[in-house]
């Protein structure tokens, strides 16, 4: 195990998979020129080891980054397409949803689409309306896609590797504000994490907090504050949103009888609605109080600090809501 940040962890994970399988390659804007420049550390110097045919610096052509990845996957390779931000990825929703997600099915299994599409979610300091969105709910709603949103460097590495080895198209959503966060990461190039398994961040018996991506860290913080007040929250980081680990959630809710779903995305129509509705439907016997959600208000992300702070879900928000749940 080594301590490293998430940017380094995913770079090492990608490099390991590229060494293991010559059919794995990456494409995106500035992938080979970003020597610590604008794009951070995710592809730093990979060009030196893998060359321009496998670390492909693309034009600013989102439709084609995604479309070419689909074509290349169908044609027998394993592309990792980087669209940078989920906001820019909106320029390629068609290729992802109409093509990648449907090709295997509509051609009756004649083809597979083993690709990974990376797109960063989440608000980052002053990113404002067009560089901050969290769109995971759209892709969970899309048949054919696997959706992953890790919270720690170790999970990011292990799940990126799993995504690359997976024969389905995988939407891999990193969080901008997590790239510099550090954690323990395995050095074993064969260690791959299973997709669809949640992580119990914190054990507890008073209520279950289900969350993912950066909100898992905030929920963990909230759990500490709650513990100080004598409330033991079980925090579950889903890590994979489709498939999501219903067993882990059901088991926890069976124990606690209380559910709070916490998400950074807009609450209305967010993935949290699916989790809450599912648990309400399937775990009603275990529930001691009704399910609750917390998420962003239905507003674009504002720029100025006080407004941005108002927008964000904090540990304090979770604590307040969790107390409501625990006390109900």
């Amino acid at each position: 195990m080594s301590e490293m940040n998430q940017g380094d962890a995913v770079r090492i994970g990608l490099a390991e998979e590229m060494r293991r399988d010559p059919l794995v390659w990456a494409l995106g804007e500035d992938l080979s020129t970003a020597h610590g420049g604008t794009s951070g550390s995710q592809y730093y110097q990979l060009i030196d080891e893998f060359g321009p045919k496998r670390i492909v610096n693309t034009p600013i052509s989102e439709n084609t980054i995604m479309g070419a990845a689909v074509g290349a996957a169908v044609a027998g390779t394993r592309p990792v397409a980087d669209l940078r931000m989920a906001d820019f990825a909106m320029c390629a929703v068609d290729e992802l949803v109409n093509q990648a997600a449907k090709i295997r099915y509509m051609f009756g299994g004649q083809a597979r689409v083993p690709l990974v599409v990376r797109q960063m979610i989440g608000a980052r300091k002053g990113g404002a309306a067009q560089h901050s969105q969290s769109t995971e709910a759209w892709y969970v709603h899309t048949p054919g896609l696997v959706v992953i949103a890790p919270a720690t460097p170790g999970d990011a590495k292990g799940l990126l590797k799993a995504a690359i080895r997976c024969d389905d198209p995988v939407v891999f959503m990193e969080h901008k504000e997590l790239m510099a966060a550090t954690g323990e990461v395995t050095d074993d190039p064969e260690a791959v994490m299973p997709i669809g398994k949640a992580r119990i961040v914190n054990e507890g018996s008073d209520l279950t907090i289900v969350t993912w991506s950066k909100m898992a860290l905030i929920a963990a913080e909230a759990a500490e504050l709650l513990a100080a007040d004598g409330i033991n929250a079980e925090v579950i980081d889903l890590r994979s949103l489709w498939p999501w680990d219903k067993d882990a959630v059901y088991t926890s809710v069976a124990k606690t009888g209380r559910l709070l779903v916490a998400q950074e995305a807009v609450q209305v129509g967010g993935f949290g609605a699916e989790v809450a509705a599912d648990v309400a439907e399937n775990m009603s016997d275990a529930l001691k109080t009704h399910v609750r959600r917390i998420g962003a208000p239905r507003i674009p992300v504002p720029y100025a600090e006080p407004m941005e702070a108002e927008y964000r879900i904090t540990a304090e928000h979770i604590v307040a809501k969790a107390k409501e749940v625990a006390g109900a």
Binding site: G67, R104, G108
Partner: protein
């Protein structure tokens, strides 16, 4: 599918004639079946445009890929797909090329390198360049041909794909089938400048214009361009002028079309022109009649087989979605 220099020109052209006749017979039969209610979705017919797919695909190998658009029947047959399996696909029956999951608009036969028709215009262009990139990465000696309609050349992704194919020097032949119309709109009325050839040239791509109803000319030019592409000459563009004899979809009444236009343009349809050439070059009328009825017979048998084939098990709807997170 031949590639060796054909010394016996009439024999080669007669082969092209047979392929065109098979496409024509397929399209006529598909319309009859559609009108009689046996085809679940819409069909886009290729009648009058047979020379293009035929002339191009006769110069391709089984290992080469083609990416088609919504008007894909002719491309599939020319590339060697089995018309009986295709007809079963249209009928939504067991034995259909895509297991009856896709229908006419998603006709595909990966076993002969036909990577699929497509319901979303221009996406074949971006996927096609990616498929070519995969061939290069895999070191496979094969090329990609992308078919695109005139109307579709006003979609942005097409230009991204042109640029992309050039900068990576990919083995791609773009074939623009200019059949004058895009649905009910005369494409010229919404297309600025000198047209597709000039646009392709602006991206540095060698581009050629041709009478797409002259199968001999298409065959010759395609042979030349394909050998250039195959020889490492980079992407090329072929603009073939033709005319959509039928409606946009089979039930289109074409009220937008000037009276007499279809009849006028029908005079230039490619099969009759090819027949005239063959008659001038030593093939007898009886041989032509025999070829036509053989094509019609093959398609009649295909229709009969489609009628006889059972409908698929409804539960197959749940197959081939995805491995991870598949529907229960």
């Amino acid at each position: 599918m031949a590639e060796e220099t054909i010394t016996n020109k009439p024999a080669r052209v007669f082969e092209l004639y047979k392929t065109m006749s098979l496409i024509r017979a397929f399209e006529e039969a598909a319309e009859v079946a559609y009108d009689a209610g046996f085809v679940n979705g819409s069909i886009h017919q290729y009648i009058g445009e047979e020379a293009i797919g035929t002339g191009v695909c006769s110069n391709l190998r089984d290992t080469d890929y083609i990416l088609s658009n919504h008007r894909g029947h002719g491309h599939a047959i020319a590339k060697g797909a089995n018309p009986e399996a295709m007809m079963k696909e249209l009928f939504g029956r067991v034995g259909g090329t895509s297991g009856a999951k896709g229908g006419s608009m998603h006709i595909a036969d990966f076993s002969v390198g036909m990577l699929g028709a497509n319901g979303i215009l221009a996406d074949g262009t971006t996927m096609g360049v990616g498929a070519a990139q995969a061939l290069v990465l895999r070191g496979v000696d094969a090329i990609v041909t992308v078919f695109v309609g005139d109307g579709t050349t006003n979609r942005g992704p097409f230009y991204e794909a042109l640029n992309w194919s050039m900068i990576y020097e990919l083995p791609v032949l773009f074939v623009c089938e200019n059949n004058t119309y895009a649905s009910s709109t005369v494409t010229r009325s919404v297309t600025a400048g000198a047209g597709p050839v000039a646009r392709a040239e602006a991206f540095g791509m060698p581009a050629f214009d041709i009478d797409g109803n002259d199968v001999l000319a298409v065959d010759e030019l395609a042979a030349d361009l394909i050998s250039r592409v195959r020889g490492g000459g980079g992407p090329h563009f072929l603009h073939a002028r033709t005319y959509r004899i039928k409606g946009h979809i089979s039930r289109d009444k074409m009220l937008y079309r000037p009276e007499g236009e279809t009849e006028e343009r029908w005079k230039g349809e490619p099969i009759g022109r090819c027949a005239a050439w063959l008659l001038d070059n030593g093939i007898g009328q009886d041989e032509l009649d025999e070829a036509t009825s053989s094509a019609e017979k093959q398609i009649a048998d295909a229709v009969e087989a489609a009628h006889a084939a059972p409908f698929p098990d409804a539960k197959l709807a749940f197959a081939d979605v995805q491995d991870i997170g598949a529907p229960q």
